[in-house]
Amino acid sequence: MSFLFDRSGLLRPPGAADEADLVGSCIRCARCVEVRPYQSIRLGPITALRSYGTPFIDPLGSPCYLCMRCPEVCPTSALTVVPAVESAMGTARVIEESCYSWTGTVCNQCYRSCPLKGTAIDLDDLLQPVVTEACVGCGVCLHVCPTEPRSIHLVPRGETS
């Protein structure tokens, strides 16, 4: 029955409770999905098992832009209002082997697009992007990365790789 206790591996919205608490307290109401101005939150399909009907974000389609509206409309403790810098959604990691800037093509779109620009992704002295501890895992960098496949990997909180 381990599938009942799996970690979802999903990227959760900002202010999300821990996985076990979230799948228990989320009332599957979709208020976070509907809130404006972005349409970044989706609901887990039935194949997500325990996460069915719970909110997650697919940064390839539409990342979280840290507008922080979703916890405001959540009626349960699944999403709690926190400041953007404490969103704790996950951590990004630059894949240096394929990243343009690390391999001779000057790009840095991730740095430019980061909502926490300069603090969550910074550029080293050679103008190569480096993710810092301040990264909250919103996924904008992954979304805009021009390589195929993307040269940013986003690890949701609670996961290891």
């Binding site: 228990g24 009332i27 109401c29 208020r31 509907e34 989706r42 039935i46 009907g53 009626p75 403790s77």
Partner: protein, 280 residues
């Protein structure tokens, strides 16, 4: 012209329209309200499905004052007016009633006899199954840490399917469950989900008291034509004073009685329901 059927159908359709309108309005920058029947509200207030509140409280083993409060609206409604949620608000109820019309038509086509109301024994068995199912689900939510009914509750499934298709442009597999339920109901278990399985309905039914709205028969006016029990899709029999917790107060029997012998008095303070069987 009877106003109640029109008002009731209007209310059911309005609920579906609101489920579609809220995400569309949000996209048009009118976003003071969000949500579905699982929970909806504005910046200042919330109304949530009490079964959802109960399940998530058990699943997460926490009690959240705000969340508990938001569950009270529909509970209070049930205390006062019985299972009106089922006949005026619930989208599954809307589709189930339509399905019932189909069921009746199919019966006529295949020249089957018209359906009979539940016998007291059938009613009792149904209630036992219904509340066992409710209890089992609440226990399961506690044990497995997820609100288990939400996987099959057609109210949530329809709500989320609407959000998915209007807001996200996706169509999920939710409606498959709804289709299966309706198929079973149309085929051989008339209003079966609503009567024997739906835990939301069960919860509202459990909130009804002697003082809640129900159908009352004036024995003197009644001529025993049994039109009312033929009309009732939930297996009740007002003519025999058998109106139980399956009654959703839809008022169809009241409207159809040729002698106007039935009524739904709003307030029954201090007196037993005259000639009505109090829900057992």
């Amino acid at each position: 012209m009877k106003w109640r059927p029109i008002a009731r159908k209007g209310a059911q359709v309005s609920v579906l329209a609101m489920l579609v309108a809220i995400p569309l309005l949000s996209m048009a920058r009118i976003d003071f309200i969000q949500g579905t029947l699982c929970s909806f509200g504005t910046e200042s207030w919330s109304v949530s499905c009490p079964l959802g509140v109960a399940q998530t409280s058990l699943a997460s083993r926490t009690l959240d004052a705000g969340l508990l409060l938001s569950g009270f609206a529909f509970i209070a409604l049930a205390f006062v007016a019985g299972r009106v949620f089922c006949s005026w608000i619930c989208p599954q109820g809307f589709f189930s009633e339509l399905g019932d019309k189909v069921h009746l038509a199919v019966r006529r086509v295949f020249k089957r006899p018209p359906p009979r109301p539940d016998t007291p024994a059938q009613y009792r068995r149904g209630q036992i199954f219904l509340y066992s199912f409710l209890g089992a689900g609440l226990v399961a939510s506690f044990v497995f840490g997820v609100p288990v009914f939400c996987y099959i509750c057609p109210i949530g499934l329809i709500s989320r399917a609407i959000v998915g298709s209007t807001y996200l442009g996706t169509v999920g597999s939710e409606l498959l469950v709804v289709a299966i339920i309706l198929f079973v109901e149309v085929s051989f278990a008339r209003r079966g989900w609503c009567k024997y399985i739906c835990p939301v309905g069960a919860l509202y039914g459990a909130c009804t008291t002697k003082r809640s709205l129900t159908v009352v028969r004036d024995a003197h006016a009644c001529v025993g034509c049994h039109t009312c029990e033929r009309e009732c899709s939930m297996g009740n029999s007002p003519v025999d004073d058998r109106v139980g917790r399956t009654c959703t107060n839809c008022g169809d029997c009241v409207d159809v009685c040729p002698e106007a012998a039935l009524s739904q008095p709003l307030v029954q303070l201090g007196k037993k329901a005259s000639a009505g069987v109090s829900p057992s």
